[in-house]
């Protein structure tokens, strides 16, 4: 659905989205990596389970929530992709382990 602009920097940063290796340009967000990996949706809402994709890309809409390096519920549009970063989609409400 999304293609990099022709003038974009070369995609040199390797990240893993749902187990799939994808390269993004330096400075790209984790949300951009999800889109570059070809996923149409990034999360499913906690209440109705409907699919959502990154939308505002500027930290406002909270529709890009993802699990990044094991931390769920992060706004992936606000996180810069780092080499080796592991990104997973957020399906439903986050689970949390109450044991200390």
């Amino acid at each position: 659905m999304f293609r990099p602009r022709p003038d974009a920097m070369p995609a040199t940063v390797p990240v893993i989205v749902e187990g799939r290796l994808v390269h993004v340009p330096p400075g790209a967000s984790a949300a951009a990596a999800v889109l570059a990996a070809g996923f149409r949706g990034i999360r499913e809402t906690p209440v109705s389970g409907s699919k959502r994709a990154p939308y505002c890309m500027m930290g406002v809409c909270f529709d890009c929530l993802a699990e990044i390096d094991g931390v769920p519920g992060r706004q992936s549009c606000m996180v810069e992709a780092q080499a080796g970063m592991r990104i997973r989609r957020q399906i439903g409400a986050r689970s949390i382990d109450p044991t200390p």
Binding site: P46, F62, G73, A93, R94, I96, D97, P98, P100
Partner: protein, 371 residues
């Protein structure tokens, strides 16, 4: 001049619950709502249907609160049936968490006192030690010394409740008049006129339920409603999978999964601002209680003004000079919604407050009359 059987001034939880009850009783009712210039305590509620902390030294308040909690399932079912809106009411009992030995001792004494004061009405509670508490709430922090528990407590979605009361009121033929600030009124026994945005309205009954606005409105009807604002702040986390099976006084998980953290009691006049120091104190106590809350992100926070009578107890009154004029004031619009719709409104429809509400009259602040 349009005539009604009753006019309710105030479209928040107190006013809309009363209007809902009056409409159900068959009265042609107008609900006058100020608009978003109002302080709107009903938009800032925490959402507890809370019994266990209410009425120490005032057993009539404990009884009234308890009766409301008992009416709540019926009101929630009726609202769902009539409006299709689920207000998310649950009544699993509730906890008051204590940090440190002193808080637990103080709580134990308070609960003992309230049980003594309850007389034949009774007051069921238990003090829970840490190990028993650990079976009810996951991951309690080392600072938690114990908790009090009663079976009476519960919670609901206050915005859904407000929506459902309005919808149910209008669908039963009630007239909702928004964006109407009441500046002037003419009062005579069983004959009241109020200037509304689109002309005057009149009715033989008027109920003042305008929250903090009641303080200024009540004297127009020879009533007294000495309410003042008390600020409360709330933090809301992102949604999480269900973890909290029952609410505590300051932490509850909604049906949708968000965890709400309260609260504060601040005397700052009509200031609805948020203060980082207060938000920090709320977060700190929440994390001391349940350390795993530390990992959840706060996604919303707000402040609102409680409608606070001088002694914290509701004020219900009827005007002696102008029969037919009533006032209802409280800071527990969610908890008491069922009492207002199912118990209080029928009294107004019948023409007068039940003697059981005498103790809630504002005459209790009038020392020369009481002595």
């Amino acid at each position: 001049m349009e005539r009604f059987d009753a006019i309710v001034v105030g479209g928040g939880l107190v006013g809309s619950a009363i209007a809902f009850g009056l409409g159900r009783a068959g009265l042609a009712t107008a609900l006058v709502d100020e608009g978003d210039v109002a302080f709107r305590a009903s938009r800032g509620n925490f959402g507890l249907v809370w019994v266990q902390s209410k009425g120490d030294g005032a057993p009539h308040y404990q009884r009234w609160t308890r009766r409301s909690a008992e009416e709540w399932p019926e009101l929630a079912a009726e609202l769902l049936d009539r409006t299709g809106i689920a207000v998310g009411h649950r009544r699993p009992g509730g906890l008051h968490l204590c940090l440190g030995a002193d808080e637990l001792d103080e709580r134990r004494r308070r609960m003992e006192r309230m049980q003594r004061q309850s007389g034949n009405f009774g007051f069921e509670y238990r003090m829970l030690e840490r190990d028993e508490l650990a079976g009810m709430l996951p991951g309690i922090g080392p600072a938690v010394s114990g908790a009090s528990w009663t079976p009476y407590d519960g919670h609901a979605n206050p915005l859904a409740l407000l929506h459902a009361l309005h919808k149910g009121f209008v669908e039963k033929g009630g007239r909702y008049l928004p964006n109407t600030t009441v500046h002037e009124a003419a009062a005579a026994p069983c004959d009241f006129r109020i200037s509304a945005a689109n002309g005057d309205i009149a009715a033989p009954r008027v109920v003042l339920a305008a929250g903090l606005g009641n303080a200024g409105l009540a004297p127009l009807f020879a009533l007294d409603a000495p309410v003042r604002p008390q600020r409360g702040q709330i933090l809301v986390t992102e949604r999480a999978r269900p973890l909290l099976g029952l609410p505590t006084t300051t932490i509850r998980q909604t049906v949708e999964g968000t965890i709400m953290l309260g609260d504060s009691q601040e005397d700052v006049g009509f200031d609805t601002g948020q203060k980082p120091a207060v938000m920090q104190a709320i977060a700190r106590r929440a994390v001391l209680s349940l350390p795993w809350l530390r990992d959840l992100q706060i996604v919303r926070a707000w402040a609102a003004l409680r409608v606070m009578p001088p002694d914290g107890l509701p004020i219900y009154d009827q005007s002696e000079r102008f029969p037919g004029a009533f006032t209802a004031n409280c800071h527990s619009g969610v908890t008491l919604a069922a009492a207002h719709a199912n118990l209080f409104a029928p009294m107004i429809a019948a023409g007068g407050l039940d003697p059981s509400l005498d103790l809630f009259s504002a005459r209790r602040f009038d020392v020369p009359t009481a002595s």
